[in-house]
């Protein structure tokens, strides 16, 4: 054993950027404060992930370890007009975070019947049971240092509570804006969707700075029986940023969760998605697209846990890596002994656009039941030379042809997005070089 390699504890890392320990809240019986205290106390037992950990094997986050980013100071003064260009046309409800902190003044949570949105501290203070029942219960922090850290700072987070049988037609836009450099923001969001309710959530990360900073986000979601949630995730952080995110979703009886996660930004990004199909006939389809270039690293880890019988899961994950970029996909599907008649399908397709780019992929099935339908597969390839020639023979230059085919590869995932303006925005972004004005 190499005794020269010292395990840096997570606590040490935090101390280095926070010039001292993070402190637990004052003694309090408040649910939120207790949760935070527990998380703070637990952090001492956790270490900073390294490539010697199986779940971090392909992803070296040493640069993050060396980045001593403190907590954000006072929130940057922004007005809604600074952000309007990022608003989604279709959205009515908008929740804005700046540097990890929920900003009611920039948000638009105008009362809709059956929809409650407020800061976690307020929701806990008024004892909203949906919040105290689920907050901190879905996103596991005991084995995850980043979730623990986020939990320690979660008082700045927001809760979205939807009562039973409510349909929110317009997408709810949750916008995480980074403005300060060299800070670590820990935004937190809890989503509780009542039985039979239906919503679309657009979770978006973007930056008003080109500089380095860290986002360490946690989203927890609980879908009650027969609820239906579309969840679109757009990660467009600055090219210098570190982005660590955990999303944990619990899906009850006959509820249905569809997510489409797009990763475009950050220097190093890591997205963990934990899905529990917690009851019969629960369904999920979780699709993803990673599109990176230059020196970017983007890692997506997903876990789909089939706990009860007759649940269905679908997954299509695509990675496109150009330049010297490095994409990672690890997708684990667990089928528990009780989960008979599970129907699970996973597909991972990868496109390498340059000789220096690399993609690591690790699809895994762990099946403990015998009457199941499960399949998975992975492919890796390059742009089709005949298709490139076909486009060139119609007058498109090589760069445009490559661009168009690259977009086309990703379009299969982008086309799943049920919000037109978001779909269009992504198409424009990716096709920017091809568009003819």
């Amino acid at each position: 054993m190499n005794t020269l390699i010292k395990n840096v504890s997570f606590q040490e890392w935090i101390s280095s950027w926070n010039s001292g320990k993070i402190t637990a809240p004052e003694h309090s019986t408040n649910y939120l404060d207790q949760l935070r205290t527990n998380a703070v106390n637990h952090i001492a037992a956790l270490k900073f992930p390294s490539t010697r950990d199986e779940e971090w094997r392909f992803t070296d986050i040493t640069p993050l370890k060396h980045a001593a980013f403190k907590q954000p100071s006072a929130a940057t003064e922004l007005t809604a007009s600074d952000l309007t260009q990022y608003f989604i046309d279709e959205s009515v409800i908008r929740i804005v975070f700046v540097d990890g902190q929920y900003m009611p003044g920039l948000s638009s949570t105008a009362a809709q019947h059956g929809v409650t949105i407020d800061s976690l501290s307020k929701l806990v203070a008024t004892d909203i049971s949906a919040v105290t029942q689920h907050l901190g219960q879905i996103a596991e922090y005991h084995n995850n240092a980043f979730v623990a850290l986020n939990t320690a700072f979660m008082q700045e987070g927001v809760g979205i509570v939807i009562s039973e049988n409510i349909v929110v037609d317009a997408p709810i836009h949750v916008l995480f804006v980074a403005t300060q450099q060299e800070v670590t923001a820990c935004p937190r969001c809890l989503l509780v969707v009542g039985a039979g309710s239906r919503i679309t959530l657009v979770e978006e990360y973007l930056a008003l700075t080109d500089c380095a900073y860290t986002t360490n986000a946690v989203i927890e979601a609980q879908l009650a029986d027969s609820a239906n949630v579309n969840h679109i995730r757009l990660q467009r952080e600055s090219r210098e940023a570190f982005h660590i995110a955990n999303t944990s979703v619990q899906i009850a009886h006959a509820a249905s969760y569809q997510s489409i996660s797009i990763a475009l930004g950050a220097q190093i990004s890591r997205f963990d998605q934990h899905i529990s199909l917690a009851d019969q006939h629960a369904q999920c389809s979780i699709d993803g697209l990673t599109l990176i270039s230059d020196q970017q690293l983007a890692d997506t880890h997903t876990w789909i846990d089939h706990i009860k019988p007759q649940a269905t899961s679908r997954q299509l994950h695509k990675c496109i890596a150009d330049g010297s970029a490095h994409a990672v996909f690890s997708g684990k599907i667990i089928v528990r002994p009780d989960a008979q008649q599970t129907d699970a399908r996973q597909m991972n397709r990868n496109l390498l656009l340059s000789d220096k780019a690399s993609i690591d992929t690790k699809p895994q099935l762990e099946i403990f039941a015998d009457d199941v339908k499960c399949s998975h597969g992975a492919t890796i390839g390059q742009l089709d030379a005949d298709a490139l020639f076909y486009l060139q023979s119609r007058g498109l230059n090589l760069a445009s042809a490559r661009n168009l085919l690259t977009y086309a590869f990703g379009a299969e995932v982008i086309d799943f997005i049920p919000v037109d303006s978001v779909k269009q925005q992504l198409a424009d972004l990716i096709l920017a070089k091809t568009r003819i004005h």
Binding site: A385, F389, S393, N397, L405, T434, I436
Partner: protein, 264 residues
């Protein structure tokens, strides 16, 4: 004094080309003037599609000798898109399916690229939509094909019509149609032929690669060439196609005395 003959659109001289390390084209000669229609016939594997792709600049085929002059310009070092913008068009024998690229978007991109090259007006999506629908009417094409991915799931005949639609949009100076007739039923053939004939003028020219006489009933060639083993071994008038239909290729095959490749 040597003067370029402006009536000559394409001049191919002693063309040799390889795929990987195998020589496929072995000294091909062909001259095409403005206003002419040429047919190239020949057995499978004789190199017709290879010739078409070499003309269009496919990177998998390496030219090892000879020259290609298009409109008086040596195009051998031009990229495929530069040849296309210069007015060369290839209707593919096997059009490529491109999932994820909408046909209308692709058509507009191609159209505007060529328009810009010619210093002509580009069209925005709405203008283009009107324009392309008119062109589709001429080819009796369902506008539904605009919303689908390029060639994806199209039948053989639908793909061929989509090729001719592209030709109609790009208005090339020289179009090479590689077996555009195969896979078309007689009605479709008539429609495609009508479309092609409408585009033919005294300024442009056409090379039809085909196996069958029947296309030539609708598009009348000025010359018929027979290709074998990478060369044109016989050139004659349109009656040659009828002879080939009646007697096959055996009677000319390997008969080097008749090989010419340079039309009268």
């Amino acid at each position: 004094m040597i003067r370029a003959d402006s009536s000559i659109l394409l001049e191919v001289h002693d063309l040799h080309a390889n795929v990987e390390d195998t020589e496929i084209l072995k000294g091909l000669n062909l001259t095409v003037k403005r206003g002419e229609i040429h047919a190239i016939m020949g057995l499978n594997g004789s190199g017709k599609s290879t010739f078409a792709k070499v003309l269009a600049g496919h990177p998998a085929y390496r030219m090892t000798g000879g020259e290609i002059l298009f409109n008086g310009m040596d195009i051998t070092s031009l990229a495929p898109e530069e040849r296309a913008r210069a007015g060369l068009f290839l209707a593919f024998q096997y059009p490529v399916e491109i999932p994820g690229v909408a046909n209308d978007q692709f058509l507009r991109l191609a159209y505007n690229t060529v328009q810009r090259q010619r210093g002509k007006e580009e069209l925005d999506p709405l203008e283009f939509d009107d324009f392309v629908r008119e062109k589709m009417k001429l080819l009796d094409m369902n506008p539904g094909f605009l919303d689908r991915s390029v060639n994806e799931g199209f039948s053989g005949g639908e793909k061929k019509r989509n090729e001719i639609l592209q030709m109609a949009l790009l208005e090339p100076m020289l179009a090479v149609l590689d077996e555009t007739d195969s896979g078309l039923d007689i009605d479709a053939l008539r429609i495609v032929a009508k479309g092609v004939n409408q585009l033919a003028s005294q300024d442009n020219a056409l090379i039809l690669v085909t196996h069958y006489q029947r296309l030539l009933d609708y598009i009348e060639p000025d010359y018929v060439h027979v290709m074998e083993a990478g060369r044109i071994i016989k050139t004659s008038g349109k009656e040659l196609a009828l002879e080939l239909e009646a007697h096959g290729y055996d009677w000319i095959s390997g008969d080097k005395t008749r090989a010419s490749g340079v039309q009268p």
